[in-house]
Symmetry: C3
Subunit: 155 residues, 3 copies
Amino acid sequence: MTKARRLLIVASKGTLDMAYPPLILAQIGAAMGLETGIFFTFWGLNIIRKDTVDKLKLSPVGNPALGMPNILGVIPGMTSLATSMMKKRIKSIGMAPIREMIKECKELGVKLYACSNTVELMGLKREQLLDEVDDIVGATTFLEMASEDAVVLFI
Amino acid sequence: MTKARRLLIVASKGTLDMAYPPLILAQIGAAMGLETGIFFTFWGLNIIRKDTVDKLKLSPVGNPALGMPNILGVIPGMTSLATSMMKKRIKSIGMAPIREMIKECKELGVKLYACSNTVELMGLKREQLLDEVDDIVGATTFLEMASEDAVVLFI
Amino acid sequence: MTKARRLLIVASKGTLDMAYPPLILAQIGAAMGLETGIFFTFWGLNIIRKDTVDKLKLSPVGNPALGMPNILGVIPGMTSLATSMMKKRIKSIGMAPIREMIKECKELGVKLYACSNTVELMGLKREQLLDEVDDIVGATTFLEMASEDAVVLFI
């Protein structure tokens, strides 16, 4: 049996619900001793942008899993309502807000990478990203890391 | 060459269209002799909840691939219409409903795991999950399985 | 350390924004010398259908990351507006349209596979798919390729 020694997560979604899985898995992977990194790409960049990290939203539209008719989802304020309900629930079971999850990742040694192609596509500058971001790297660097004994999750 | 001996699928979506890929791939993986497991997390839990498994919906909103204008998607009943159209199509080519797909997975030896973090987040109890669920496990268990000669798919 | 020698990408989304990541990663993987393939399944088939490849859309609804209220997203024309804005941005940084990205993939030796289950589910014929598609294969073939020294990404 071969054992992976690295955990590499691609965070490609920019909604509150899909921001948690990469951060939770990265924390646990790092705590287990895996060399862990998160590669933020496309909408996932919102998780590490200073102007959006605290404003991630859960959308009630187009997510039938939430059990809300689409017509309600488009009423102004419904996305905010669903988001604040989820935030309360998250807090009530002792989970930290996204910004703190990122800090905890860093304390555990998780590396945070922003995808250079998407940074360029969105016209972002380094200073618009959280200080916790380690580097802006290309897909080549990502694939090199991914091809070396890694568990790779595209979220 | 090394050969993976395990297939580990994360099912994170709770829509009808995204419930099939994990179950189809798990069935085929198990039939090929791979040690196969599905880890249901976030909205994916809807696939193994007694109260939602038969009610999974396909949403026509926010899915431009369906070729339906968003304005139609929010008209009450459109999600149900798109869902029932897809169910008919699924049946017509001989594919089983989700509940039967789960039974077939079990017969082939696929292990079904519910993510303990999400179970807690949603305030669910064991008895609300399908009897077919083997265990409620944490992300640590998942990552341990994922790091041992596994093909890992996050769906 | 073991080195993956293969890159296998599952393209399961049919929106413009999620059509790029599989194609970009495949091009880079092939350029790095990895034996690279893309397996188009479910909505991802839209990327290799003659009638949809040039019409992929970005949806502003249900994507809070776009920062647009849902109520605006359902106004007829908003999806087209968001899509044309993204297309301009893509062009301005020198990225090619999807159809050209596919051609470039082929020139680099990337193999393009259509998922036979989905092709059947959608009632498609071979001639409705782009000529660049190498083969229509089942999930068994995909899993066999995935279990041999591969980096596997489900997008």
